[in-house]
Symmetry: C2
Subunit: 335 residues, 2 copies
């Protein structure tokens, strides 16, 4: 049963039937009802590819993220899906595995009307943004969440990275730490640099000179990261605290401390940006800066749907900051 | 630059150019090379919808899973993606959130040639399978992984659920446990029932009568599950071990024990099927039955590509069992 046979059954033109099925304003309500009833009775289903060619809408949005095996991103996607569902939209999830090459491929793949809009959180190594500009040039609405490109004009939903890092660093200082290491995930990413700046400014405010050997740039290779952390822990002048920029670095730090029998929090305190489900039951429980991941995803989707619906987004609304929460647990407790 | 202009530039028919670009056997290698070179030079990109209408191939597969915020499924997807990438296929990820209604919607959405094949792990409440039969009836290749439907004839990649549960239960018995509770996720799912049977048979082998009050059926609501576990822990005749069918139930059990100051493993031992990244650093570290999740995903994708390529899969290959590993850690240690 295709559109042609359906039209024949109804004794109407293909164009009329197609417009009726896509709820076009050109067709009377009465005709629409007749067509829809017949389509249902004959169990007609539009060929999705043919259909999106005709009506130029896919009712699909894409979410591009570094990894799904990360509680922040999986929660954010749940937020995106909750809104998409209420709008009858499908959500395609793409993982870049922190590989900018894959990010570019996905963007290219989405260029030709496959989706109505794109939500993206960049890889940790995205420096060039031609692939994102290309999406914008083709009028495909684009919204960033968490990891945004500074040089692309598109709405973004982020958290208060700088302030959160500042507060977390102050918390460590108040609990007696003076030799605080910072584990960054990228020299490029806005989130990483904003967090680093919050950390640096908190140190400065409290008259603590920062030690450049205590700022470690990690990458996506867990074993390499653990080696870097082990080197830090093995220093004769070892840090008394580690601040992880993302939760994977807190996990790596815990593992290194366990392997080296370093006691957390007595010998080294640990805090991290994290939405880890098991933060509460780790040994010891992990102090976290927890992002409102679900709300970030939902808000980003909301902005994207406004763009898809051709609504105007004011300059003020272009940058949407949702605050994170400091959750103090055992890993930063005073000795 | 569309197909028509590209054909004109090349002085070839649209059909020839299209076939050359889709690597058709009807076109000579020499012509293909010329066409591909020109397409590249002119930066030609196929309209994905138009293109899939012509060649009836989407170069896309779908993976339908209960949830991405689950280490088993996120690792399995990485396995799927690793193979898909090498075949130049895109992977669409769909979450059902354990809701069979969503599973049906997704299956319907995929019915009309949107994808070349489907990998699926069922929700915990999937009883009717008409939506899967419908996919098969439309000749869309289907492969199950982990959670499979018994009454649909399609290849499946699973782990040795029964034997793993048997071995894990014996491990608890050998460490002195006689009152072992089992937390199931479903009365329907094959994986859940196979694990339950392994547990029951191990008890029987060691002359331990099973206690039906110690078999708890949990659902997808964490707070409800925690209440059920708390009720179990509060019994005057409390279990001396808890066997979690999936990792979320182990996390819930840890949280309940922490809230009630019950010492693991001294007062209650805990073991679980799990691919939890933080199993090693929990308080105490969690003994697990760890599934080869990545390999399960990759093997399922491999079977799917064989179906897509119209290769025959023998009856023996239809059920593919990859073994899990028992990793003994502190949570089941002898007192």
């Amino acid at each position: 049963m295709n559109l042609k046979t359906l039209a024949k059954e109804l004794n109407l033109s293909i164009s009329t039937v197609s417009k009726a099925l896509s709820d076009s304003g050109e067709i009377s309500l009465a005709t629409k009802k007749i067509v829809q009833k017949k389509a249902k009775a004959l169990n007609y289903q539009a060929n999705p590819n043919a259909s999106s060619l005709r009506i130029q809408k896919s009712n699909t949005i894409a979410v591009i993220i570094p990894a799904i095996a990360n509680n922040f991103f999986s929660l954010a996607i749940n937020g995106v899906e909750s809104l998409a569902k209420s709008k009858n939209y499908h959500v395609l999830i793409y993982q870049t595995h922190e590989d900018v090459k894959i990010e570019k491929e996905v963007a290219k793949f989405l260029m030709n009307g496959r989706v109505d809009g794109v939500l993206i959180s960049l890889t940790r190594s995205t420096t060039t943004t031609g692939h994102l500009k290309a999406l914008k040039d083709r009028n495909i609405p684009l919204v960033f969440f968490d990891r945004a490109a500074e040089n692309i004009s598109a709405p973004r939903v982020i958290t208060n990275d700088y302030e959160s890092a500042f507060i977390a660093t102050e918390h460590l200082i108040k609990n007696g730490c003076t030799k605080i290491a910072f584990l960054s995930i990228s020299e490029i990413l806005n989130i990483s640099n904003n967090r680093l700046n919050g950390y640096l400014d908190a140190l400065e405010k409290h008259g603590i000179k920062y030690n450049k050997n205590f700022i470690i740039f990690c990458d996506d290779d867990k074993e390499q990261n653990k080696k870097k952390i082990a080197k830090l822990i093995d220093k004769t002048d070892r840090p008394d605290a580690i601040f992880g920029c993302v939760e994977e670095l807190a996990i790596a730090s815990y593992e290194v401390c366990k392997e080296k029998s370093i006691c957390i929090p007595n010998e080294v305190k640990i805090i991290s940006f994290s939405n880890l489900k098991t933060a509460e039951i780790l040994s010891p429980s992990l102090s976290t800066i927890t992002q409102p991941a679900y709300d970030i995803g939902r808000e980003a989707a909301s902005l994207l749907f406004r763009l898809i619906d051709k609504k105007v987004i004011s300059k003020e609304e272009n940058v949407n900051v949702l605050n994170s929460t400091l959750l103090i647990r055992e890993s930063t407790q005073n000795n």
